[in-house]
Symmetry: C2
Subunit: 219 residues, 2 copies
Amino acid sequence: MKGDHTGTLKQLAIMGALNSFADITSARLGESLGISQQAASKEILKLAEQKLVDRQIGQRGQRIMISRSGQELLKREYLEYKLLFEPTRNLQIHGALFSGLGEGRYYISQPRYKQQFAKKLMFTPYEGTLNVRVAPADMPLFETLTFSEGIRIDGFVSKGRTFGDVKCFLAMIQGLECSVIIPVRTHYTDVMEVIASRHLRTQLSLKDGDMVEVSVSIA
Amino acid sequence: MKGDHTGTLKQLAIMGALNSFADITSARLGESLGISQQAASKEILKLAEQKLVDRQIGQRGQRIMISRSGQELLKREYLEYKLLFEPTRNLQIHGALFSGLGEGRYYISQPRYKQQFAKKLMFTPYEGTLNVRVAPADMPLFETLTFSEGIRIDGFVSKGRTFGDVKCFLAMIQGLECSVIIPVRTHYTDVMEVIASRHLRTQLSLKDGDMVEVSVSIA
DNA sequence: ATTACTATAGTGCGAGTAA
DNA sequence: TTTACTCGCACTATAGTAA
């Protein structure tokens, strides 16, 4: 709110700066936003300062591209709107962190899974999972995920091993966009695996035993 | 940008003011937005002044609900983000307005259609259609809609008459959210029917013969 | 053409506080 | 408890203009 430049960033994205450098003059940006050329110029400088955009400056104009963190900001914004308008329910699932044996990391680092995550989720997952021991009181909620449609990730066979179908649910953990992944053919478990674009433990300063709340959105 | 209170409006929606009155104190709103209680109070007053929210004031707080135009603002915002992040293509289809014989109005005012529009589109259509005679140069574009998946509206039989399946495509006309509807079993036509939540002719000051551009998004 | 500096006018924020 | 006023300060916008 205080220094909120989300609107400007969105306009830059609309003008083509989301996935590549776009020629955008401060005058044209100002016109789109209903502000002066000077104000638009300052907006760009501030976005660059906050590393939300990258710039290439020439003498006959500048080229602007939204940075990785800028993209994440816009995606988070999009997700919030989506949760508002799409008829989804949000399940608040609580649990305690624990360290797994690294099977999660092994699974999601399989190239065939990774390709699909990158395509079907809105982020490219960090290669590791956050293991959450679901609170007994929330087990009924967690189990409804078994019966809900999620984003389908197809299984495959690699080197004689079978990697089964998996489904993902978009979720939020402490304000961060993430995804809960569960096998389609579930065995009973109280372990919820969470993936995100970053290493959640360092990002959120979490350690074993910490209680977390994951807000899972189901269709 | 100048007097942009979209962020505040979105926060109010998140806090439950989208579809009903919600008890929201200025202090709590301020906390959510990272501003003071006083600033939040002013934000609310400005939103109310612009008729983007309705208020009920008591002595132990206020109840806030986002107005119809406020909802439309947020939906437009959502649509913009959606077009940015969902892998859609946008077809710019041009054509000239003309007056139909009112069959469009007759069709979309059928209750069975209306119910589905309200549920599956993001707006409740005004009971009338805008008839656009598609420019010959854009006919190939228009025809691709025939082969694209849209939002499916199921047909039905009423009083011995058959109303066929129809599909809708989210679209924008002069910055306004709208939808293009075409029968699933299409006969060849150069007439594109556009519906929206308002009477587009008055809303956009259009008259017969005017050229319009409709930006249709397909999956 | 551009971007972006300076100076000034205007708007917004928050502390204190009334109702 | 609330909401929302005034007022001082800071931030932001625009016009003019340099580079």
